[in-house]
């Protein structure tokens, strides 16, 4: 079977598996959130400080919170069927719009961090494998262990201290210079300056994981018979590493990176907070505190989509990397 055929078959299968998965996630999340004490009306009333029983009942009926739970769920599903994520009582705007504002920020931060972690991690891991047991390997091992164990927010704070406070090279927070009215390339350069520190502090932990994993995977592949075969063919060292060793070693790394994307989407809260980065993580956190369940459900739904899409991409990537995957089914 040729490569496009294999890939097409996988895409079809993934699509049909995704529908029940997403539906299950929505319903499960909906009921889970019902367990949380209080609702949006409680929070709003508490913040206003002067709510009467009547105004609270009014709020509840306005947001549909007074309906039976099953009714609320059906309402939500009905909305979803019409491609609407509902309305946020707190922010006073449609959830889709709210998420739409925050999503690009998170995606940019996430992809910058992941890209950096992957490239540098794989390069460092390859170096470690190449020099295994010798000084460069030892130094890099200690370094990666350090980044693996130090929490991201602390790294973030230290980076701010060094690059923003002491050296003054990079901004300490936000995602662009306010009121600068830049366009084109200048705007891009300005945004790039703002993303360096948050992306760096988010990525160092993952970088350490990828470096260590690459090292282990490459050392394992290196002892395989087919590497010896390649050497017996007169393959040069660089080609040996790139074509024969690294390609086989990349398979476990893609699996792990795929899992991390899902985690990063919601797990960037801390870094987003430290750098006041307008992303989804912070929105989700605020939504929890305000019991703004429609926003939270929207974010969870989106996250599940991202995870499913990423998993599918990783599946396809692996089917491309390793022809043995996805052949017999």
């Amino acid at each position: 079977m040729t490569l496009p055929d294999r890939l097409l078959r996988r895409v079809r299968r993934i699509f049909f598996q995704a529908i029940p998965t997403v539906l299950g996630i929505v319903i499960l999340n909906f009921f889970l959130l019902q367990f949380a004490p209080g609702d949006a009306a409680d929070v709003m009333a508490a913040e206003a400080g002067s709510a009467t029983v009547e105004t609270m009942a009014d709020l509840r009926s306005r947001f549909g919170l007074d309906l039976p739970v099953i009714h609320q769920l059906l309402n939500y599903l009905n909305n979803l069927a019409h491609f609407s994520l509902g309305y946020s009582p707190r922010y006073g705007m449609p959830v889709a719009e709210l998420i739409g504002q925050r999503l690009p920020g998170t995606l940019v931060l996430m992809s910058a961090a992941l890209l950096f972690a992957l490239t540098i991690g794989v390069v460092l891991g390859s170096l470690m494998a190449q020099f295994s047991g010798r000084l460069p390997d030892r130094v890099l091992s200690v370094g990666s262990l350090l980044f693996y164990s130090v929490p991201g927010f602390w790294i973030g704070l230290m980076l701010i201290l060094l690059f923003s406070v002491k050296l003054g090279w990079l901004p300490s927070g936000g995602d662009s210079t306010i009121g600068s009215n830049l366009t084109g390339f200048a705007l891009l350069a300005d945004k790039a300056r703002y993303i360096v520190l948050p992306a760096l502090s988010l990525s160092l932990y993952y970088l350490a994981i990828y470096a260590r994993l690459t090292r282990a995977a490459m050392l394992e592949v290196k002892s395989q018979d087919y590497v010896r075969t390649a050497r017996a063919k007169g393959v040069s060292p660089l080609r040996l590493v790139l074509r024969h060793i690294l390609r086989n070693a990349l398979i476990p790394i893609t699996t792990l990176a795929g899992m991390h994307i899902g985690g990063m989407l919601g797990g960037a809260v801390v870094v987003e907070t430290v750098f006041s980065w307008p992303g989804l993580g912070r929105l989700a956190f605020e939504a929890v505190m305000a019991r703004d369940f429609s926003v939270l459900l929207g974010i969870l739904l989106l996250s599940s989509f991202v995870v499913i899409i990423v998993n599918a991409t990783v599946d396809l990537l692996q089917a491309w990397l390793d022809p043995r995957i996805g052949e017999s089914r």
Binding site: Y226, R231, A232, K233, G234, N248, L321
Partner: protein
């Protein structure tokens, strides 16, 4: 005729231990030389030494003269020019010796593209021809297959195609048929035999299967504990073995007519193990030898020229102790 390969006093050492202790042999163009011996005799290390793939910390000694120049001590860059082009190698495990993520075509064209100035299209055409040469049916379709889509015998054919792709002068087959079942073994050996005749290529067959040696080899060399103990034409070596180790090996090969069967009693074996050779001052085989004398422990017995093309490293004539052999092998 000058020999294509002339190995002189070749040794391999890892720190204090010396698994190959100075072997000398030659191989002529088009000749099939078999190297036999049990695990640990140093035959595979010798083979890896011939292609420069010993572990980095291995210390080598002696000379490997190939086509008139010494390969030992040359740079890694020079080794790479020889590997795959002048000397091809096939390994034991066809299941794991091919890269699982590359098509067989990609793996064959790789060696062509490294050593010969061919473009992608020509290389692919050559790969198809090579697959046809090693008798793979529907070569044009198979060239895009991945190794896991082929059987063990097919994969070993692909390995051979890679090994002979650049018309090497020497092909080393390190236990190349051990992992295959018997009918496939015969096919692969027949193929190697045809190829060496067609391409005038010397083949070094490393094996512990004496049946293969008797049937296919032009010359056989028996190794024990890092040394050559006997060498000659297969016929005389097997009908009239000079060295007690060769006799032991022959005695330990189960044969239909011998009447021994593992259901009736233990199979015949050489008593002891090759480990006993460690630290032995005299003949390495002395601890296991049924006819060892006191003098065997003094010094390593030198290779004696028995007849024109027969060498053996035992000072005693076989007739004097033929009868011991059977007793000894049954003793354990």
């Amino acid at each position: 005729m000058t020999a294509l390969l002339d190995v002189r006093d070749f040794s391999v050492a890892f720190g204090a231990s010396q698994p190959v202790k100075g072997v000398s042999f030659t191989a002529n163009p088009g000749e099939m030389l078999a190297i036999v011996g049990e695990s640990g005799s140093g035959k595979s290390l010798t083979a890896l030494g011939l292609i420069g793939l010993l572990p980095r910390h291995a210390k080598t000694g002696g000379e490997i003269r190939f086509d008139g120049r010494n390969l030992l001590g040359q740079s890694e860059r020079d080794w790479r020019k020889i590997r795959g082009r002048d000397i091809g190698m096939i390994f034991q495990e066809p299941m794991t010796s091919l890269n699982p993520v590359l098509t067989v075509g990609e793996q064959i064209t790789e060696v062509l593209r490294i050593h010969e100035h061919v473009d992608r299209k020509q290389a692919r055409q050559r790969a198809v021809e090579l697959l046809e040469l090693v008798n793979i049916p529907e070569a044009r379709k198979r060239v895009d297959d991945y190794p896991h889509q082929l059987s063990g015998g097919m994969r070993q054919r692909v390995m051979i195609a890679i090994g002979v792709a650049c018309n090497p002068k020497l092909l080393i087959a390190d236990e190349a048929t051990t992992a295959l079942d018997v009918t496939i073994q015969a096919q692969i050996l027949q193929l190697l035999d045809n190829l060496r005749r067609d391409l005038n290529m010397a083949v070094i067959l490393i094996t512990h299967d004496l049946g293969i040696v008797a049937q296919w080899a032009d010359r056989v060399m028996v190794m024990y504990a890092g040394r050559k103990v006997e060498e000659g034409l297969p016929e005389p070596v097997f009908t009239n073995p000079y060295h007690p180790y060769t006799r032991g090996l022959l005695g330990a090969s189960p044969r239909a007519e011998s009447g021994h069967h593992y259901r009736q009693g233990p199979l015949i074996e050489i008593p002891g193990s090759i480990v006993s050779a460690t630290g032995e001052k005299g003949c390495a085989f002395r601890p296991r030898c049924p006819s060892a004398q006191a003098s065997c422990g003094f010094a390593v017995p030198p290779l004696r020229q028995i007849t024109e093309d027969r060498l053996a490293a035992c000072p005693f004539t076989p007739t004097s102790f033929v009868s011991h052999v059977h007793d000894a092998s049954l003793r354990s």
